[in-house]
Symmetry: C2
Subunit: 150 residues, 2 copies
DNA sequence: TCAAATAAAATCGCTTGCAATTATATAGTG
DNA sequence: CACTATATAATTGCAAGCGATTTTATTTGA
């Protein structure tokens, strides 16, 4: 590879974007059978992780944490409501907001999440340092991109 | 954060998975307006990148390069066929295979892809070394996960 | 006060992504 | 040859994702 060729750099960057894309798909493919035992998809699992940290959040508060908007979250939350894991109720203080609360079943599901995380960690098979380093780099990159989206 | 707490490691790994997920979404959000000028989505762009390297590929050959299967590719390729960028024809040597060839319009579109890559590189804003390092690490992780999927 | 601006969620239409299944063609085996 | 096994695409059904728009509620400000 001739680094002096200016075309190399854009192509390299393209390869990085593809690496992120294909890794993301591979990760959900590993999560799928694990989460099937909890009757969750990966995005649903992410919502549950947020709510286990603390519920009574509005749709947009969840969206801020996960970088998703109501067009994605509303149908997803409705499915979790049908599953009996959470409730969706209009705030009486501000009728525009819909407040999400965990049900007892939703809170209890947390106990099974540990096993999923353990298995996933094992599947990834890399050191703490590598995980920390990668996480920070990727979050930095994402924050940089999200910042410039407006 | 207490690194002695064993729960920290699985959670860290979970954070890495989310970092990959959210970065992947952020990347497509940056690509979207750029690729709209070429009337392509990001997965369609990936298929075109593969074909620009060399066409006359079967659906599964494209799938191997992109880690996608026919359930995803067949409808996507049909849309690109309707757009006039490629042709889908059964191989006469093996009637099971569908061979994908670029049309003249499909080949010509390549000229506009350079601009997309340049703009994207600028949006990412990181050094060659960082791009190379990240790409290799993420590909390594993906290959490790894909290998253990059977 | 009250119309215009803003904010939150929902809805619509479209494109992935994929597990599971089906249809068809080829390869292999007796 | 026939007959099973395998390979390749296509199809089906569902769940994301999201741009664009709509609906309803709140805020602003003249």
């Amino acid at each position: 590879m001739d680094i002096k060729d200016n075309r190399v750099i854009p192509v390299l960057n393209d390869q990085l974007c593809f690496a992120v894309y294909s890794l993301s798909l591979a990760i959900s493919k590993v999560y799928r059978p694990l989460l099937k035992q909890l009757d969750l998809t990966y995005p649903q699992y992410l919502v549950m992780l947020v709510l286990w940290e603390g519920d009574q959040l509005s749709v947009s508060e969840i969206g801020e944490k996960l970088f998703l908007d109501s067009a994605t979250l509303t149908p997803l939350l409705k499915r979790l409501e049908v599953s009996g894991l959470l409730s969706r109720e209009r705030s009486s203080r501000d009728e525009r907001q819909v407040i999400i609360c965990l049900t007892t079943a939703g809170k209890q599901l947390r106990a099974q999440a540990g096993q999923v995380m353990e298995t996933m960690l094992c599947a990834m098979g890399c050191s703490i340092e590598e995980v920390q380093g990668l996480r920070d780099r990727l979050n930095g990159l994402r924050n940089h991109l999200v910042m410039n989206l407006d």
